[in-house]
Every structure is written in structure tokens, then in C-alpha cells.
Amino acid sequence: MAVCVSVFHKCRRLPSTLLNLRPLVLNLNAQSTRTFCTTKALAARKYTEQHEWVDVQGTIGTVGVTDYAQNALGDVVFAQLPEPDSELNQMDDCGALESVKAASELYSPVSGTVTEKNKDVEETPALINQSPYEKGWLFKIKLSKPEELDALLDEAGYENHLKNTGH
């Protein structure tokens, strides 16, 4: 997700919703270690530096943009999402989110084949602002290179990235 931040001064802090989510995710991780569940079943959300997230269940990843991204974009008025069956390479430009006057390119955090796009978001792009991690997911993708996940950021890494880049 290509969000630009230099003009969005109000977003210098990590949004509170993201902070609220953190304990939940950490807790999930802890649980998975203790009970020897496969990490895949309870895999935590992974992030890109471009503010996309991907949540993998089995071989299917659900992709969205982070709370930070939606906040920086402002009200999304149009979501252009990849069509099902399109094959994407990691970091392919695969759509765009339009907020007031700016079209921001959307990148796929992983390689694979798109299995579904969120039609509700196409109908009501404001869902991205209201619920970036749940109702505002963008598309689902069948991973062709699951190993790519290893190089993506985890929750703490993403948070650090935001801190280090001055947000």
C-alpha cells in the first residue's frame, strides 16, 4: 500500500486501535508455543513496510491494509481490487485505493493466485477505514511461495518500522 505520510501530521502516533490489538496477537503467539499447536493454524498477521497485512490460514492468505495506512489515506472513496484468478508475484501492483484526490497503488505482500475479492469493500469502501483488519479485508490469495512469509514483518517488527520511519 503506497501511503504517503509527510502530509498527514495527525498520524505520527501509532493509532490506538492498532495498539489495542497488540496484546491479543501476542497472546495468540504465546498460546501456540505453549500448546504445541502448529504455528500455521495460529499464525500471526504479517506486515509489509508498505502497510499491507496478510493473515494466512492453511494455504490461503487474506490481505488488507493496516490501520495506520487507512488513517494516513483518509476516507477511501474507491477500492480497485484484483480479480479472482489473477496471478500475482510478491510486490506486484495489483489495484489501488482512492482517497480524496489521491490514488494509492496496492501491492500484494505474497505471490499466488487471487481466490476472492471483498465485494463489500468495493460496494462500501469506507469499510477499509472502519474495520481495516476485519470487514475491510481486500482480497484472498492462494500462496504459491509460502516461504515469502518468513521475510515479512511480524507485529513487533511492523511497529518498529513505524517508529523508525518517524510515524
Binding site: 503506497a2 501511503v3 504517503c4 505520510v5 509527510s6 502530509v7 508498505q50 472513496v77 474507491f78 480497485q80 510486490m91 506486484d92 501492483d93 489501488a96 482512492e98 482517497s99 480524496v100 484526490k101 489521491a102 490514488a103 494509492s104 497503488e105 501491492y107 468495493e122 460496494e123 469502501p125
Partner: protein, 377 residues
């Protein structure tokens, strides 16, 4: 690569490093690498002015810069002027935004840009300014301030920036703004109404209501005015000169001169292909977000919904059973999977399908379909 008319002016400091960004699969970056590269000073600023007044060439060149230049340590102001044309935003619906009939009657081009935002009318009294930076240094407000500052410095006009980031004079809009943000690069471009033919502007943007339902990006209509109206001595050429100098002088380096560039394949390998895609029906009309149109049938108690995807009629939905199966089948055979273009226009107006169905009952449908098919490139 020979993009510079006065290239010797720039050589000492101005080596442009071209990095392949985006998905220009069709062209080989090796052929243009290493012509120049930019030094590591972020304050480096260049000004390019297009020698072309063709909207498709200029949009293609803008896109070429966006995809091929590395703006990490360098900024560019690209200025361009077009012959009469209407430019819609990336996710807009031309049937909702533009008077297609007036457009073709006046030989005005229609084009779709890559950035967001609303519809604008351009002619040679309008200056387009594209500010390129890295995504990190993208700053719309500062670009607009540069424009206002330069105009103020020379003509003493008090321009202000609205919360929507339009430039205003006395609450009238003199400039509209839109942006495109990518992974590494970004641009912000805006119009500047210097001496635009406002009667043509209104004719092009005065739309007949067709009853379209869509979630495409709507334009926000605002009262506009020309800078010429408050400052008779101003001209586009002078604004290019003043703004270009102001932009460069704001950097610690002094003015190195402008580059007047010709958007040609020879100068910018791969440009022809980009130009072709910008001029194609599939881009201008075909990229319209899906929409539907409801047409009354007969005494208006019944209606048919035309669903359009990628500029093609995807399906017809008859709201009730008052349209007989045979008529519904005839209409579907005639219309489904057809592009809303001049070919379908001819088929509808010259063919006899509507005649065989009782023209009166379907006259409104025919009228709306013919209006939808007024798409030319």
C-alpha cells in the same frame, strides 16, 4: 537518450539515473540506463516543459517519468499544456461526468488519467503542473504553496489554498489537484486556469442525466475562474517561466535552465506503447467501474436494468414479467456482451430489432442506449 534540447546546460550536475520501476515489460531498460545519473543531493530540482500539446502524449510522458525515473534524491516539475480535452480521474465514469455528445461535436478528446480525483477540462489556456518526488518526500501542500508563491511574487495575486487543496482566488477555484502514490515514486499534478474557454468547459461538463447508478468517484463541482480575469496581463507562457524559475530557485542550486522535451519513442523508449494504452477505448471507457442504468419501459410501470462492466453490457435485468420472453430474448441477443460504442450505436439505429418490438414501448430504452453509445476515441 536524448531528452534534452539544451542538454549541455545540465550535464555538469545533472546525470539522471534511470531505474526500472513499475511493469513496463515491453521495453528493455538496458538501452537507456547510464545516460545520466543524479547526484545524491535531495535538493536537486529539474524543470521539464513538454513541447507536445497532445493529451495522450503528455499523459504518457508523465507516466513514463513516474515509472522510469528514480526520484529518491531528485525532484521534477513537469509542465504541459493541451489542446481542448476532458480528463477524467482513474476511477470515474465518463457517462456520468462528461457530455459525450458535445464532446464529439466539438472534436474534444476524452482521456482518463492514472491519478484519483475529478473531471477537468483543458485547453491551451490551462497549465498542467506535475510535481514528482519520492513517495516519502511527496508533499502536496508545499507544491501548491510554490505555485501560489510564484504567482504572488510576479503578479501580486493573493491566491489561497482550500482545505480540499484547491487553489482559490476570492473563493473561486483556479486550480484542481490530484495525486498518484506508488511504492517509491509519487506525483501530484494540478491544473492552473489561466485563460480557459469557460463556455466550452461548461458545455463539456454539463451532463444529461441518464439515471446511472455507480460507486465511481464523483466530481465535486466548484465555481471556477481564470487568472486572466483578475490579472489581464498574465499568460500561460509567462506562468511557465515564472513558476519554473521559482521552483528551481527555491533549491540551494541556482537556476540551470529548463528542458523543453518532445515526447517521442526515440527520446523515451517505450513511450509509444504507453501512449497507445492511454488513447485506447479499453482504457478510457473500458476502465469505468461497473455501473447500471434503469430504463422505463412502456407506461413506466416496468423497467429494465442495464448492467455495464468494463464498458460492455454485461446483462439485462427485467424487473417484472410485463416484457414478454421473446422481446427480452431479442434485446439480450442484441445487447449483451456488446461494447457501448459507435458500432452498437449503428446497430441500434439502423437495425430493425426495436421496430419489430413496438418502438413506442421501448423508445426510452432506445434513446438511453443511443446516448450511452456516443463513445468515440
Amino acid at each position: 537518450m536524448n531528452v534534452f534540447r539544451n542538454s549541455y546546460l545540465l550535464l555538469p550536475y545533472h546525470r539522471i539515473k534511470i531505474r526500472r520501476l513499475g511493469n513496463m515489460n515491453s521495453y528493455n531498460p538496458v538501452s537507456i540506463i547510464a545516460t545520466r545519473s543524479i547526484t545524491d543531493d535531495v535538493s536537486k530540482k529539474s524543470v521539464f516543459v513538454s513541447k507536445s500539446t497532445n493529451i495522450f502524449e503528455n499523459l504518457a510522458l508523465e507516466d513514463w517519468f513516474y515509472k522510469n525515473f528514480d526520484f529518491e534524491n531528485q525532484s521534477l516539475l513537469f509542465m504541459w499544456v493541451n489542446t481542448p480535452c476532458v480528463v477524467i480521474g482513474r476511477h470515474q465514469n465518463p457517462w456520468l461526468e462528461v457530455n459525450l455528445k458535445n464532446l464529439s461535436q466539438n472534436n474534444v478528446f476524452l482521456s482518463r488519467r492514472n491519478s484519483g480525483g475529478g473531471t477537468v477540462y483543458h485547453d491551451q489556456g490551462n497549465l498542467n503542473c506535475s510535481f514528482f518526488t519520492s513517495r516519502v518526500r511527496y508533499n502536496r501542500k508545499s507544491n501548491l504553496e510554490t505555485i501560489c508563491g510564484s504567482i504572488r511574487s510576479h503578479w501580486n495575486l493573493n491566491l489561497t489554498i482550500s482545505p480540499r487543496e484547491d487553489i482559490l482566488f476570492d473563493s473561486y477555484k483556479v486550480s484542481g489537484t490530484a495525486s498518484k502514490l506508488g511504492h517509491r515514486n509519487a506525483y501530484h499534478h494540478c491544473t492552473l486556469l489561466v485563460d480557459v474557454d469557460s463556455s466550452l468547459l461548461h458545455q463539456m461538463l454539463n451532463v444529461h442525466e441518464l439515471g446511472i447508478q455507480s460507486n465511481s468517484t464523483p466530481s465535486v463541482r466548484s465555481p471556477t475562474m481564470n487568472l486572466k480575469a483578475c490579472c489581464p496581463e498574465i499568460s500561460v507562457d509567462e506562468v511557465i517561466h515564472i513558476l519554473g524559475c521559482y521552483y528551481i530557485k527555491n533549491s540551494p542550486l541556482c537556476c540551470q535552465g529548463f528542458d523543453f522535451v518532445t515526447p517521442s519513442e526515440e527520446n523515451f523508449p517505450g513511450l509509444d506503447l504507453i501512449k497507445q494504452s492511454f488513447s485506447a477505448w479499453q482504457w478510457i471507457y473500458g476502465k469505468t467501474p461497473s455501473f447500471s442504468v434503469c430504463c422505463p419501459i412502456g407506461d413506466q410501470s416496468s423497467e429494465v436494468k442495464i448492467q455495464v462492466l468494463n464498458g460492455k453490457i454485461e446483462r439485462l435485468h427485467f424487473q417484472d414479467v410485463t416484457v414478454g420472453k421473446q422481446d427480452a430474448l431479442k434485446l439480450s441477443t442484441l445487447l449483451v456482451n456488446q461494447k457501448l460504442d459507435s458500432e452498437l450505436h449503428d446497430v441500434i439505429s439502423n437495425g430493425n430489432v426495436f421496430g419489430t418490438m413496438g418502438e413506442d414501448r421501448f423508445s426510452k430504452l432506445k434513446e438511453i442506449l443511443l446516448a450511452l453509445c456516443l463513445t468515440s476515441v
